[in-house]
Structures are given as structure tokens and as C-alpha cells.
């Protein structure tokens, strides 16, 4: 049975796309067929991390939502950029980064039911083992939908008050949508904080397990949005943490 994993955060800039790309790559590297869909329609970006240039993206998630293509027509095999192990394959369905297309989505909206049907169709036609969904920050109909269909929801939280409050709101929504497996990923944790104590505190407050904890990393900032970190730095401690989170969401 395919497994759907959504990566969400209440606020922007938390590292959703980076975490999504690294987890998806880690899972694909174990020989699985993995799909990644960028549902961040107002501010897409994960295609940069996977090295997919906008001029190669003839069809996107937008084309599917506008009834102009099948969703698999907008799926690009980016495996060759990732040095994947034998058998592994990673398909990316990007969202259009053209200003006109983004304006069209904002102006006309889209049918959230079609998005749901698209996820299902993508999983079926590409025979995916895992589907990762990168989301727009905050709550919107696509985040409600992706939360509802997720076997596992990963909520990224930075240790600050606004993120804490946002996490509480998102957890309210996840409960209303009957999501059973929610885990928190702490990101951009300052070196002065005690990671174990922070983990414990967050688990106590939210009653949700912490799947992983990532320090504020200059290394990942240097890579910016070009390339998947775990491919470039296979021995790095952060790569090991990505692997640990991947193991937890694959369960």
C-alpha cells in the first residue's frame, strides 16, 4: 500500500522544501519509487533543489488542475540528479513558477477535489511506494486536503513563540481531520539550546512525538536551494538525522 507523507509548517521559511527533498531522496535511495508534489502553488520552489529548470517544466501541477494535462504528464524523473541506489526512482510534480500562472491560481482558484484525484492517479500510474507532499505555509484548502490524506504529517517547528502557536492551530486541524500520525520536526535550533530538553518540552506540550531535530545550519544555507543536501554531504550529521526521520515516517 502506498504511503502518503505531508510536510507542513504554519509559517514560511521553516525549511519545508529542504526537508521534503532530503526525506524523499533518502527514501528513494533505499530502492523505492517516490513521488514529490509541490502544492505550494503561490510560492513554488522545490524544483530548484532537485535541479529541475523551469524551461524543462512544460507541464506542471497547474496544467493538471486546469484540465490541460494528466497529472503524470507533469511528473519529471529527477533520479539522475540524485545518484540514487539501484531500483530507486524519484518523480517530481512541480508547480509553475511563472508569475502569470500564479496569478491565475490566485484569481480563479482550482477544484480541491481534482487535486485529491490527481494524487491518487499519480500514485496509481507511476506505481509509487511513497508520495511526499510539499505544502504552502499556513492553512489553506490544499493544506487541509494534504493533511487529511496523509498517513503521516510532519510539522516543522522552529523554537519560537509564533511557530509554537501555529503548531497548536495546525494540530487542532489535524485532529479534526482524523489524522492519526503527526510528528514534529524541530528545525533551525540555535546551538545555545539543549536539544534533548527542547525535544522533551515540545513532546510534553503537544503530546506529539518529535521525529527529528536539526540545528541552524550554515552548511545547508550555503547550499541554498541548489542540490539535495544528503546527496552532497552523505557523511554529514544532518544527513544521518534525515535518515532517522525517514525511518520514522516509513514505519
Amino acid at each position: 500500500m502506498p504511503r502518503v507523507i505531508s510536510i507542513h509548517s504554519y509559517r514560511g521559511g521553516t525549511g519545508k522544501s529542504n526537508l521534503t527533498a532530503n526525506l524523499a531522496t533518502t527514501v528513494a535511495n533505499q530502492g523505492y519509487r517516490v513521488g514529490v508534489v509541490d502544492t505550494d502553488l503561490p510560492s513554488p520552489g522545490i524544483h530548484n533543489i532537485f535541479g529541475l529548470e523551469p524551461d524543462r517544466m512544460a507541464k506542471t501541477l497547474n496544467s493538471y488542475l486546469w484540465n490541460e494535462a494528466e497529472i503524470e504528464d507533469g511528473a519529471y524523473d529527477v533520479s539522475q540528479n540524485l545518484d540514487l541506489a539501484q531500483g530507486g526512482q524519484l518523480f517530481l510534480v512541480p508547480a509553475s513558477s511563472s508569475a502569470d500562472d500564479i496569478a491565475r491560481i490566485l484569481k480563479d482558484g482550482y477544484d480541491v477535489r481534482r487535486l485529491n484525484d490527481g494524487f491518487r492517479q499519480l500514485v496509481k500510474t507511476l506505481e509509487l511506494d511513497y508520495l511526499f507532499i510539499d505544502t504552502h505555509p499556513g492553512l489553506s484548502k490544499e493544506t487541509f486536503l494534504t493533511i487529511a490524506i496523509s498517513h503521516c504529517l510532519l510539522l516543522i517547528v522552529r523554537p519560537d513563540k509564533q511557530d509554537y502557536q501555529g503548531a497548536a492551530v495546525t494540530l487542532d486541524v489535524a485532529r479534526q481531520l482524523n489524522v492519526k500520525h503527526v510528528q514534529i520536526v524541530l528545525n533551525k535550533v540555535l546551538a545555545c539550546l539543549d536539544p534533548e530538553a527542547l525535544k522533551q518540552k515540545v513532546e510534553e506540550i503537544y503530546r506529539v512525538p518529535v521525529a527529528g531535530l536539526f540545528p541552524l545550519s550554515e552548511d545547508i544555507i550555503k547550499l541554498a536551494s541548489e542540490g539535495v543536501f544528503c546527496v552532497r554531504h552523505p557523511e554529514h550529521s544532518m544527513t544521518q538525522e534525515f535518515q532517522a526521520v525517514a525511518r520514522r515516517v516509513m514505519k
Binding site: M1, V112, R113, N116, D117, R120, L145, A148, D172, Q176
Partner: protein, 343 residues
Amino acid sequence: MTPSSNLKAFADSITATTSPFRSYLSDLHRQYLPLTDGAVADYIPELALADPSWFGIAAATVDGQVFEVGDCDQTFTVQSISKAFVYGLALEDHGRDYVNSKVGVEPTGEAFNAIVLDEATNRPYNPMVNAGAIATADLIKGKDGTERLKRMLDMFSRYTGRSHDIHVPVFLSEKATGNRNRAIAYLMLNFGMVSDRIDETLDLYFQQCSILVTARDLSLMAATLANGGINPVTGDRALDQRYVQDVVSVMLTCGMYDSSGDWAYRVGMPAKSGVGGGITAVAPGKLGIGTFSPPLDAKGNSVRGIQVCQTLSQDFGLHPFNAAAPPRDLAAWINGSEGTNSW
């Protein structure tokens, strides 16, 4: 409104989108979309404008969950589907005995527009043929045509939870070409079966056929009947509970034009179709189904709509006389919490 009612309502609409039952409907849609049999009604030019590829499937449960696939927001004219619901309003206005004295409940086997009355009583055979529907429209109370139409529109609003309009070009075309219906009305006037406000009543009849609805509306109308007359989403009563059985019964025996017998045998859910491409089907105590697809078979019923209703009936045991365990359990499919498990 409780503090979290918005959250709950929106979350419910999302879980309806992701439920296994909607995935099932989505597969039905995919399966029957390629069907190209049948033809779009073209006896008036406005109906011929319908896109034959339009196809919507909606289902509403008696606890108010609504599942939609395809073109469920596309409006079309309700046409003959209105007849069942206006019959309910006539029953509320006059009671069963009086209405029965004016319109029978016997299937005819004749075409829906046949000029034929019961020889013994001079009544039209049933409220679903044009003669019976005109006699039924005549029974709708109101001081003038405007008030009578408003009462009809208000009734549809109670069934669907939204306001309705008339498609004026369709109404004018039906009126301009409606000589056969005019003849039927005058024949009934001759026998004293309808009042002498013929023009007003015919206008009303053409208007009721021109009301704009969607597949979602049709599912809610059927679900309201399945729920004993109360709209399961709004909680408003649309039909006096005493008359729900009357309306649903004539739908079963006469609702699908002169293929009603075949329908009862194969599908069983009391239903009403219209030449606009709609079908509304009732699974009492369970759910209401609304389908929309303009191409019609030779009897005037939507080709894709028939297939959808028949498959749903077989898969979930929705035939009222079915006593065997169906291949699929409706409650489990509707309430399956992890919709993706059915992927």
C-alpha cells in the same frame, strides 16, 4: 454556531473529498466518461447547446455528507425531475384524497407526452407524464402565477439549501413550442379536471421545467426524500413526512418514463429523470444520488446516469428489495477514515 463549527464544516467537506466512497465514485466517473452512446435532447435549440461530455456524479447521505465527482456545479434545467417534487407540494396543498381525485398513480407504458387520460375517471394516469404534471401544477396554490412560481422555487430551495432561478430562454422556447402540452391541458379542461386558468398553469409548468439545478442539488433533493423529507444538510423540512412515501412510490413506478419497469428490475432505487440530462435517485434511509450527463437514450434517460445508478445499486445493495449482503458495505466505504488505504 459553536466556536469550532466552521472548522468542523470545512474539515467535513475535506474528509468527504478524501473518503473511499468518493474515490469509488471517481472511478465510476472515469469508467463511464468514455461512453458516447445517446444523444443530447434537441427539440428546442437551447437544450442542444449542452456539452455531451458534461458528467457529474453527486451523492448525499442522510446524515448530510455530500460526495461530488466531475461537473457537479454545472447548472442545467431540471425538466421532468420537477414533476415528482411539485407532486409533493400539491399533496401538501390539498391532501392525498383530493390530489388522487385529479391525478392517478398508475404507470402508463405510453410515451411521456401521450395525449391520453383514464377513460373511466378522465384523470391523467400519473403525475410523471406531461398530462399528470400539468394537472398537478394546476393544483399549486397561490393568488397568481408569480406567487405560485415563488412557492415552487421556495420548495426547491428547501430541498437543496440554495436559491433557484429559471432559465428564461428555455422557458420561452418550451412555451413557444408547447402546443402539444397546450392540447393536453385543454383536453383536461374539457373534462373538468383542471381549473380554467390554463395559460397561467401552462406557464407555471414550463417554468418548473426550466428551473436550473446541479447534480449536487439532485443528490440533496433525493437525500431529503431518503431522510423522510428533511434536508440532511440544512435540517429544513422540505416535504411533510406524510407524503414522502407518496412521492417516492410514484418515482419507483413511473419515474423513468416508459422504462420504469426495467429500471425497477435492474436498479430499484426510486428515481426521476429529465431530458436536461439529470437523474435523481433515492435510497431510502441511506442516501440520495444525483447524476448529470446530457446524452439520452431512446427513452429519454441519461445514458451515463443509468450506468452509474445501476452500478451503485449493485455494488452497495441499494435496490430496496435486495436482502443479500452487497459486495460493498456502504457505511464502511463512507466512513473509512484513511481514504488513501483504498488507493
